[in-house]
Symmetry: C2
Subunit: 401 residues, 2 copies
């Protein structure tokens, strides 16, 4: 057995932090045989590279952005390997392609198809600490790809899954909270949370870890632990199977997703082909849809609405341009300046009245809600962004978070 | 037919310069079908990365340095491809491994074994400008290697050789001079120079282009042209076969190599095995030797001396540590603060008296010379570095350069 440690951007933002982490890992190596470390790019280096690129062209080709951005992690792995060796433990750095990460060729949003761990295993056998570049892989065309937001977490979990190791994600927050402590000061830290709840929380914008990683961890039963970089052992949050947990309240936490845009399509022809075509077009562009709803209007046409990340509005407009025939008959509305609020809890399924309590609480406090969608363990609604602080606070109080 | 253009560090040091070069290449593309561009890292980025690494450890593992430094060119290729596309021409970036550069695994001093141009050719067929990362490749172990000093020139020439294209090297000087103009103001620019002379000039520190590249160009008969970035067409220096040239004077130019160290080994046992062993040990560490000489002392032991780059002194000391048995009986002396001066000319072979004129000129001007070595077309000697300006000036005058 062994462990995959993952260190994110702010926890390795400076040379001093890299050195501290190297010392810490050297210390762990005394009791742990097999250690793989997955790292992101240092702090703001990704933003700086994008800034350079934007000076050259308004139109940034995604393939080239991947080639550019993947240098960030490549620098971190080399520096961390140098620091580890400087601290007396043997280490070797591997880029995404060297570590065997095979991805789809959807640039800037690559998906891991497989990880060939042959090389990682051979270096572990040599008693080396293997330092792997997260967030990146190589496509079947031989092109460098990046995995999109939160990709380094997914890299770490995927490696842990293939190696059969546990996975520890180190970041700049000290665990998972019932509510984002920046939004609600008296929020409590959770010692443990189920995979399901974490997935909802993550997909709903909890920010600490992305859904894909939790999903992957659940699927391959990888034990996950999230904690502050260099914090005391056990002070973070364990993510585990639902049946290890006791539920005593319906809501575990509230997540907030900023930068949401709602797309409302009116006058969509009421046949399966047209609707399917719309979703096909949008998903081909790798736009993530959420809060999908569909109704029938007075003319028996469909009204379809869904939320997307507001960063994707431009890509959605491209879709429309490229499929004029289809969109010419559809009235499109794009709503911005809204956020999504989600309440998550495995206890929700067995607890009627949660939804009603949510809506009453918001209404009593004059917070209008725009769209609503629910799952077995979550309730989401969009609200105007200026109501964010108030809504979080009244809901957290109502559910005693 | 086509062309490989190479742009070096200072000529692509800023975003503005990258954009200017992109515009220039877009203009060339109107009349030139097949264009490959080889680039180095931007300006001082390599130095900055080394500075970061040195904060982490005194001992920099060469493999990790290669992984670290190769990100420099990877950033430039992505940025230049973005700039080219922004200027309306289709382009694609390729890292060393994507462009098919197979190297030895001697890190930081890799040697190109072969270039698999399949992928480059396929993109050229698609009418794309192919932007290739110079200075880097991949070893048979799957490790990223860098080619050492001047490696980007070698990358460009190797690609040109395999593609059967001509090669144009763009830099911050406007061609090859008889003497470095910084050392001797009235030095003349050469319109053309032979491969042989250029090789001697290069290996002797002319600085503009490294010997390996010229050697490769000669071997595969690649037409070479060296000029200032964005200069008027034809204003640089053509490097071509000797027999195209007319020689009218014995000396074509003077080269100066700074940072030379002389190693003097006294008391080396006079048998072939011992001497061979010394050279074997040193070359295994990839130290370049030059000005090798060997004499027999009064005790019938050997005195062996050679010059190395003063950056390699540390590695040489490692050699000694690792081979104590051998070096225990040898008295080693390391001379620093010296430079090497070389006079080069294909006319030299047929012109006796050149060496004598060199030594007389130096002696008449009170410049003591320490070691001397000669080849068919060059005379080199080491002098104390404080005599550099005087020596260059009196020799340039004596030979009317």
């Amino acid at each position: 057995m062994g462990v995959v440690l993952k260190y994110g951007g702010t926890s390795i933002a400076t040379i001093e932090k890299i050195n501290q982490i190297a010392k810490h890992i050297a210390f762990l190596k005394e009791t742990e045989d097999n250690i793989v470390v997955v790292v992101s790019a240092m702090g703001k280096s990704t933003d700086e590279l994008i800034k350079l690129a934007k000076q050259l062209s308004d139109n940034l080709p995604r393939r080239e952005i991947d080639t550019l951005l993947s240098t960030g992690e490549q620098q971190t792995i080399a520096l961390l390997a140098i620091a580890l060796k400087g601290n007396g433990v043997d280490a070797i750095s591997l880029t995404g392609f060297q570590a065997g990460f095979k991805t789809t060729n959807s640039h800037t949003k690559g998906i891991i198809m497989d990880v060939d761990i042959t090389r990682v295993l051979s270096h572990l056998k040599q008693q080396k600490i293997v330092v792997v570049a997260g967030f990146q892989g190589i496509s079947s065309d031989g092109d460098i790809t990046t995995l999109g937001r939160g990709g380094s977490d997914t890299s770490a979990v995927a490696l842990a899954a293939k190696l059969g190791y546990r996975c520890e994600i180190y970041t700049d927050v000290d665990g998972i909270y019932t509510v984002d402590p920046r939004l609600y000061k008296t929020a409590k830290k959770l010692d443990r949370i189920s995979f399901e709840e974490m997935m909802e929380m993550a997909s709903l914008g909890a920010g600490v870890i992305e859904t894909r990683s939790v999903e992957l961890a659940k699927k391959y039963n990888v034990s996950l632990y999230i904690a502050k970089s260099l914090s005391q052992s056990g002070s973070g949050t364990y993510i585990m199977n639902e049946n290890y947990l006791f539920e005593d309240k319906p809501i575990t936490g509230i997540s907030v997703t900023d930068n949401v845009a709602m797309i409302i399509l009116e006058g969509v022809k009421n046949d399966l082909k047209t609707v399917t075509k719309v979703f096909e077009i949008v998903s081909e562009k790798n736009i993530n849809l959420d809060m999908i709803s569909q109704n029938i209007d007075n003319d028996k046409n469909l009204v379809v609405s869904f939320s997307i990340d507001s960063d994707d509005i431009e890509v959605f407009e491209e879709c429309k341009q490229e499929n004029k025939d289809l969109f010419d008959t559809i009235k499109t509305q794009v709503m911005t300046d809204i956020i999504k609020l989600s309440l998550v809890g495995v206890g929700m399924a067995s607890n009627f009245g949660v939804a009603s309590k949510v809506f009453t609480t918001l209404a009593n406090n004059n917070v209008p809600f725009l769209h609503v969608s629910t799952s077995e363990i979550s309730i989401s609604c969009t609200i105007n962004k200026e109501n964010k602080a108030k809504a979080v606070s009244v809901l957290a109080q109502a559910f005693k978070l």
